[in-house]
Amino acid sequence: MSKTEIRIGGLGGQGVILSGMILGRAASIHDGRHATLIQAFGPEARGSACSAQVTVSDVPIGYPYVRQPGILIVMSRDAYTQFVPQIHPEGILLYEQDLVQPENLPAGVRAFGIPATRMAEQLGRRLVLNIIMVGFCTGVTQVVSEASARQAVIDSVPRGTQKLNLDAFQAGFEFGRNLVVAPSPVAP
């Protein structure tokens, strides 16, 4: 696959942009590919709908926007409703399963859920939800390599918080790997 479009949607404050940042950094710096992140910006983003667009490619990226995401990551119900019509017919949907109930999914789309908020709470900090989703995305889709994603997490979070964030990444990653290795648990 030479080019993958990723759309990440959620609520402001869930770390949507940071998760896009980590995926982009993993791809462009540590995997040596090309990546472009377009971030939702401005006060409108706070506490309401928020999204990031990441394009990962083997060749330089021209048009920087995501039009038909091959990977759609949603962390809120509104994000699901808003972005699911755009998803590629054979795309992958990754969703927070306590917050989003996938309905009316196109037939070719494969969907994978994770209780990321609860997992984050059990790790001690709800704010690593987005890092769990990054791990989950890496585990399920391998759009970036595990080693690169881990390194990108370390690069992207404040000093002192790397350990917990890596634990969060690991938890999401393993959860995702188990789903992919096992048959898909969701049949929408």
């Binding site: 710096i29 990546a35 971030q39």
Partner: protein
């Protein structure tokens, strides 16, 4: 000269265009920034404010854009490399001091992260509608230089270049970013300091008494001195003679204004940077700049897939406008297509340059987002017909 290692974050980064532009300024030797916050340019000064204590220098948030755009000129006469950063509404307020900088030949860099306008417009969404304002916005006749980055990497590279051009030509130099380029995050490679070429100020070799602050060298650009070094210069925004003294008569006006225009207009290839791709035998040439170049490139590739011979000419330096190059291209193509995020600004420059020899098709857009590539594609296909 090469860059001072203190200001250079050598390495590979995944940062947005605003942050990259700040790093470019630091690498170029900028150690004084006066700013006033305005979306979507604010991250540039925020980063500068957080970086400068350990690099050595000053950031000051002024009370408005008028203050910011003249405080930097004070700092430049004080010997510093300096810039200010803004977006459309702030640029409107800075116009008076752009005129002052052009007239008193201050090597000033201004980064304009364009957003939708006029007025408050669309603070968080892109446009390319300040292109004419930077060229013509201050009163009177003057010339500026404007660079158009289309990626965070170019935000770094062209900000370094903007400082170099400013020092070399002593005229205001603009980095015409836009909201998308400013907030788009990509890999940015910052070279080692010794690999970054930095143009130092043109310090005079003359002694106080022999030196005249506005006596031009061969390339029509005068050498500079630093305040406090004993030259006792006078600088005024009034029409002035080579001593810097007010000289308010038609002859002095003609001499000064003509020299300031000529030094840029006659710079020749030094100030032409058009990145051309497959323009040699193209039936249609797309002329683009800034973020729109990336969208246009997608459309160009789609058009080629449909068998159209289409070239792409990207204006890295938009001002001075490469009229001669456009005329040359007009001689070997059948049509121009000019997409831009405004209702027709640089497209009219293209029209002026090709002087009716071939049609120029504007693909306009009021801003707020970039073009859909399909719209540009449709324009190319129609022009090719």
């Amino acid at each position: 000269m090469t860059a001072d290692p203190l200001g250079v974050l050598t390495g590979v980064h995944f940062i947005d265009g605003d942050h990259a532009a700040c790093e470019g300024a630091l690498a170029a030797g900028c150690r004084f920034v006066a700013g006033y916050p305005i979306t979507p340019s604010t991250e540039i000064v925020e980063r500068f404010a957080s970086r400068i204590p350990l690099v050595g220098g000053v950031f000051i948030q002024m009370e408005d854009e008028l203050a910011a755009s003249i405080a930097v000129q004070g700092a430049i006469w004080g010997g510093q490399k300096s810039m200010t950063v803004t977006s459309g509404p702030g640029l409107s307020l800075m116009m008076e001091h752009i005129g002052l900088a052009a007239f008193t030949e201050v090597p000033l860099v201004i980064i304009d992260v364009q957003r939708g306008g006029p007025s408050t417009g669309l603070p968080t969404l892109p446009a390319q509608a300040d292109m004419m304002q930077v060229k013509w916005g201050s009163h009177g006749d003057y010339e500026i230089i404007a660079l158009c980055p289309s990626s965070p990497q170019e935000c770094f590279d062209l900000t370094v270049r903007a400082f170099n051009l400013a020092e070399q030509w002593r005229t205001p130099v603009f980095v015409m970013m836009d909201e998308v380029v400013g907030h788009m995050t990509e890999r940015v490679q910052i070279p080692a300091p010794e690999a970054i070429e930095v143009v130092e100020r043109r310090w005079t070799g003359l002694k106080p008494g022999d030196y005249r602050p506005f006596q031009p060298a061969e390339d029509l650009v005068p050498d500079m001195v630093r305040v406090g070094d004993g030259y006792r210069i006078h600088v005024t925004g009034l029409t002035h003679d080579e001593r810097g003294y007010p000289a308010m008569n038609p002859a002095a006006q003609d001499k000064l204004v003509r020299r300031l225009a000529t030094k840029i207009r006659d710079a020749g290839d030094a100030l032409v940077d058009v990145r051309e791709e497959a323009c040699e035998d193209a039936d249609v040439i797309v002329v683009s700049y800034g973020i729109t170049s990336r969208v246009a490139q997608a459309a160009v590739e789609q058009a080629r897939a449909q068998g159209v011979r289409v070239g792409h000419a990207r204006l890295v330096i938009a001002w001075p406008f490469p009229s001669q190059r456009m005329a040359e291209l007009a001689a070997r193509t059948k049509a121009f297509v000019v997409p831009e995020l405004n209702l027709g600004q640089m497209s009219r420059e293209v029209e002026r340059a090709v002087a009716g020899r071939v049609p120029v098709r504007l693909i306009d857009h009021a801003g707020g987002t970039v073009h859909e590539p399909d719209r540009i594609l449709a324009g190319i296909l129609e022009a090719a017909r």
